[in-house]
Symmetry: C2
Subunit: 104 residues, 2 copies
C-alpha cells in the first residue's frame, strides 16, 4: 500500500537492495520483525516495500532524531549486521528530506 504520510516536511529513508541466495527462514522472520518493531518507534510515519529482483523499502519518519534512534536500536543493529554478512549482496541507504508531495 501507499503510505499515508502527513504534509511535508518529513523524512524518507530509501533502502535499495539486492539479496544474496541465502534465503533462510531467519531472513523472513527478521524482515517481518523489523517492520513490526519500526512501527512501534517514536516518529515512525509509515513504509512502502516492494521486491522483484531489486528490493526497495522506504520508511517515513518525522525527523532525523527518530531515524538515528531506529538505526541504533539494539535488535535493528543485529539485523543490519546479518544483512551485511549474509542476506544482501549490495545495498544503498539514502536519507532524504521530503520537501513536497502530491498524488491522487
Amino acid at each position: 500500500m501507499i503510505a499515508k504520510t502527513p504534509p511535508p516536511p518529513y523524512y524518507a529513508v530509501i533502502f535499495s537492495n539486492i539479496r544474496t541466495e541465502e534465503d533462510d527462514q531467519q531472513y523472513h522472520e527478521t524482515a517481518q520483525r523489523m517492520v513490526e518493531l519500526a512501527e512501534m518507534q517514536p516518529g515512525y510515519l509509515g513504509h512502502e516495500s516492494v521486491r522483484d529482483g531489486l528490493g526497495i523499502t522506504i520508511s517515513y519518519w518525522d525527523n532525523l532524531d527518530s531515524i538515528r534512534a531506529w538505526k541504533a536500536h539494539a535488535e535493528h543493529l543485529e539485523a543490519q549486521r546479518s544483512g551485511r554478512e549474509k542476506w544482501y549482496a549490495a545495498y544503498k541507504t539514502r536519507v532524504c528530506l521530503v520537501e513536497r508531495d502530491y498524488g491522487m
Copy 2:
C-alpha cells in the same frame, strides 16, 4: 539495479503507485519511452524501479530545476495525463532532498 549516484546532496523523486487493470500495450510502450526520455534530460542521475502489486519508481536528479523541467516536458505531460485518466488507481509523488547516503 541500484542507481549509481554521486555524493549527496542531490534529489530523489519517489513515485509510488497502484495500477488499474487497464494494461494496454500503450502503457508499457509509454513507460519504456519515459525511461529513455528521462535519461536524456539535463540533471538526470539515475533511477530504480520495482513493481509487485505496489509499484515504486525513484528517479534521481541533480537539482530542483531539472525535476521541474522534466515534469513540464511535453511528452511527459501527456504520459502523466494518461496515467491519471487510465493507468493508475492511486499514486503519490514525493520530491526529496537526499542529505546522506551509504551502502555496500
